[in-house]
């Protein structure tokens, strides 16, 4: 479902991603783990069709990101790592924009259900400028999951989110997996990555250094293994 070979992304002199290879499959969730600046978010942006790759081959849902980024955007749901919200638009307007662009039929019931599940129903008509970081993260997950995408990309979805929000996000990931979607979760929180995903790819210095099962990354042993991979 997601296949990345030799991905390089450069911004001027800076090489944000330096040769990532990655495979993620439908019906499974894969975590991208790594320290800050490891290239997780840039890889996610490429998969979402937002940032074009400098080099390498990237196929999402069978589509080459270079050839048809619009087709990829139709198949993908993306929660960006920072903000991800238009400051002076309300959650309902965000949902409406996504529903319009993605041609989602009968979107209102699903939107209400998701906003309630993430405890955003009472602020659905307030602009997002005044939202806390956690509220913003929760709404970003709602927007990514609204159209039940084939590929769900969640970049730091647990960052600053309260336990109820974390639980709702884990439910969204489980639902997506159950209906056969490919889920990629980028995070630096190992324990949540293990809980949410079946496999874990560890990135370091812009490239992938290991892929393990979630079980290998669990508990004290997993923590030690992860620490060793980061150094």
């Amino acid at each position: 479902m997601v296949e990345v070979r030799g991905l390089h992304v450069r911004f001027g002199e800076v090489e944000a991603v330096a040769g990532v290879d990655l495979k993620a499959y439908a019906g499974y969730s894969t975590a991208l783990l790594g320290r800050n600046g490891a290239g997780k978010s840039t890889t996610m942006r490429v998969l979402a069709g937002v940032v074009p790759p400098t080099e390498g081959e990237v196929r999402v849902a069978g589509v080459d990101v270079r050839r048809d980024p619009l087709a990829i955007k139709r198949r993908v749901g993306y929660c960006p790592d920072v903000g991800g919200l238009v400051p002076r638009a309300t959650p309902w307007e965000h949902v409406q924009l996504a529903a319009r662009m993605r041609r989602i039929p009968d979107w209102q019931a699903r939107a209400r259900e998701l906003l309630e599940r993430f405890e955003l129903g009472t602020v659905a008509h307030r602009v997002t400028t005044g939202f806390s970081h956690g509220m913003g993260r929760r709404l970003s997950v709602v927007l990514a999951a609204l159209h039940e995408p084939d590929v769900l990309l969640l970049d730091e979805p647990f960052d600053g989110v309260d336990p109820i929000g974390v639980e709702a996000t884990l439910d969204v990931i489980a639902d997506a997996r159950a209906r056969g979607a490919c889920v990629l979760v980028s995070t630096h929180l190992r324990e949540l990555a293990v809980e949410a995903c079946s496999s874990v790819a560890v990135l370091r210095g812009g490239s992938r250094v290991a892929t393990l099962t979630a079980r290998d990354m669990a508990g004290e042993e997993g923590a030690r293994a992860y620490r060793a991979l980061l150094d």
Binding site: R45, K73, G83, G84, R88, A89, Q96, R126
Partner: protein
């Protein structure tokens, strides 16, 4: 309650103020570190050069400093009014921007103990980085030099520069006070009522013929009289009084700045907590994108406030001055330039950090670009039309030549400004949120560059159509408008083509 500082408090307050002044230096160095030295030198050299030219050149023009009746004496007679006009302009700019511009944005400084005194002094330093302020200041200097002539202009210019500083510092102090009142319960209504009352008073003075006698007896006359005789005792006294006024206004201005900082920014908070009920789904993608973009513009406090000042201010001036149609034609360019400086020169910042998510939506980039152009254009058009609507009340019905020139000028400057703003938005996006009433869409030096370029291009365009309104014919005006409009339109199209490149969009959306 004690109202005087105790002997133990005074040293503490003085130490805090010294620290605030030192912090200003730190913030300036922080700002300067983000700028290229070459650019600062170029811009600085440019502005110092124009200022020196505005002081020296008029003094040596034919007729400068003539003692008998003539243009030089007329200019000196009008100087007290011009001084007062500069004071009013500085005041309006300060009040509209909620106490003056931010040296470093509130969001960036939130974790640091920056005193309101530092903020006040920073805003004061930024006041000159404004095209309207600069043009007025240069005009004052030039008029005074021409009026005084080669023998007296140097001494006079020192006084004019001092007055410019005094007026700016006083305006800043009043602006903080108004901002403080605005943050009180019912404060916004009070400020609006005072503004309306001041407008009505000015209109009454004008209509009843009392304005001219009042302008002849303005207190600024005392200041101007102290400058006309060159270096003398009276001149020294004027400088002494001016310096005292400057020091007092700068120092006292910190007090309302502190008081305002203790109060919550009600207007911004209200804008953020106000509910916006859902509306039916639009029929097209473009209509949906336009709706979101339009909301981003009209729900922003600094943009709304700026629109009111920009559109009504010049309109009222035109009304009071009973401008003719050939003069009114100059206004749309002025207003459109000012409107673009509220957000359009960094138009993609409306999406803030939502830009990344929006870019992940399956929508044609062309639709997004066209929607942004539409929203910028309609905002600038509304502002210009309000000005024209107010200004034309005393201009009478235009004849065919004037009407053609007015419509042409309006359309051409609109395309010209939108094309420039979209080009700059794409080339140099800045991560700003336009949340605070004091926010600007780009850093101060970038803003001065944008305002200078916009002012120059729209003034030239407006002058061409103003001339055509007087001496041209519609058969000439229309082709001129088509050629000028097509030139700007083609530049806008080129920017739109560039937007289709995913690398260009990625650079823009990852900036925020």
């Amino acid at each position: 309650m004690p109202t005087v500082l105790s002997s133990t408090e005074l040293p503490r307050v003085l130490a805090a103020e010294r620290r605030a002044v030192a912090d200003l230096g730190h913030l300036l160095r922080f700002r300067a570190a983000t700028l290229s030295r070459r650019r600062v030198l170029l811009l600085g050299g440019f502005f110092v050069g124009i200022t020196l030219a505005a002081i020296i050149v008029p003094a040596y023009l034919p007729g400068a400093g003539q003692l008998g009746p003539g243009r030089a004496r007329d200019l000196l007679t009008l100087l007290p009014t011009a001084f007062a006009g500069f004071q009013l302009l500085s005041l309006i700019a300060g009040v509209a921007s909620g106490g003056g511009r931010e040296l470093v944005s509130r969001e960036q400084l939130v974790a640091y103990p920056v005193s309101p005194t530092t903020d006040h002094l920073g805003a004061l330093l930024l006041a000159p980085l404004n095209a309207a302020w600069l043009v007025q200041a240069w005009t004052l200097l030039g008029a005074a030099s021409f009026g005084l002539g080669p023998d007296r202009f140097l001494a006079g210019s020192v006084g004019v520069l001092l007055w410019i500083a005094v007026a700016t510092a006083r305006a800043q102090a009043v602006a903080w006070a108004v901002e403080g009142v605005r943050r009180l319960r019912h404060g916004r209504i009070a400020v609006r009522l005072v503004a309306v009352a001041a407008g009505l008073l000015a209109a009454w003075l004008q209509l009843s013929g009392r304005l001219a006698p009042l302008l002849d007896h303005l207190p600024t006359r005392w200041f101007v009289l102290g400058l006309v005789d060159g270096v003398s005792g009276r001149w020294a006294l004027t400088l002494l009084v001016g310096t005292a006024m400057l020091v007092t206004a700068t120092t006292v201005g910190a007090i309302p700045a502190h008081l305002a900082a203790r109060l919550a920014a009600r207007e911004e908070h209200d804008a953020e907590s106000m509910p916006h009920p859902g509306r039916p789904m639009p029929r097209t993608d473009r209509a949906m994108v336009v709706r979101i973009d339009r909301a981003s513009v009209w729900r922003s406090v600094p943009i709304r406030r700026g629109l009111l000042v920009l559109s009504i201010g010049p309109g009222v001036v035109a009304l009071a001055g009973a401008l003719t149609w050939s003069q009114l034609i100059l206004l749309p360019g002025l207003v459109a330039s000012g409107g673009a400086l509220l957000f359009a020169v960094n138009g993609w910042c409306l999406d803030g950090r939502g830009a990344l998510w929006r870019e992940s939506l399956p929508v044609e980039p062309r639709v997004v670009f066209v929607a942004r152009v539409w929203v910028c254009a309609e905002f600038l058009a509304v502002a210009s039309l309000i000005t024209l609507a107010i200004g034309c009340l005393r201009a009478g019905l235009p004849d065919a030549r004037e009407l053609t020139a007015a419509v042409a000028a309006f359309a051409v400057v609109l395309v010209q400004v939108v094309a420039a703003a979209m080009r700059w938005s794409q080339a140099r996006p800045y991560p700003v949120d336009l949340r605070s009433a004091r926010a600007t869409p780009a850093p101060p030096l970038a803003m001065i560059g944008y305002s200078g370029r916009l002012a120059a291009s729209t003034t030239v365009t407006s002058l061409i159509f103003s001339t055509l309104a007087r001496v041209g014919a519609p058969e000439v005006t229309v082709p001129v408008a088509v050629v000028m409009g097509m030139w700007s339109w083609s530049r806008l199209r080129r920017t739109g083509q560039e937007w289709l490149d995913p690398r260009v969009r990625a650079r823009v959306v990852t900036t925020f």
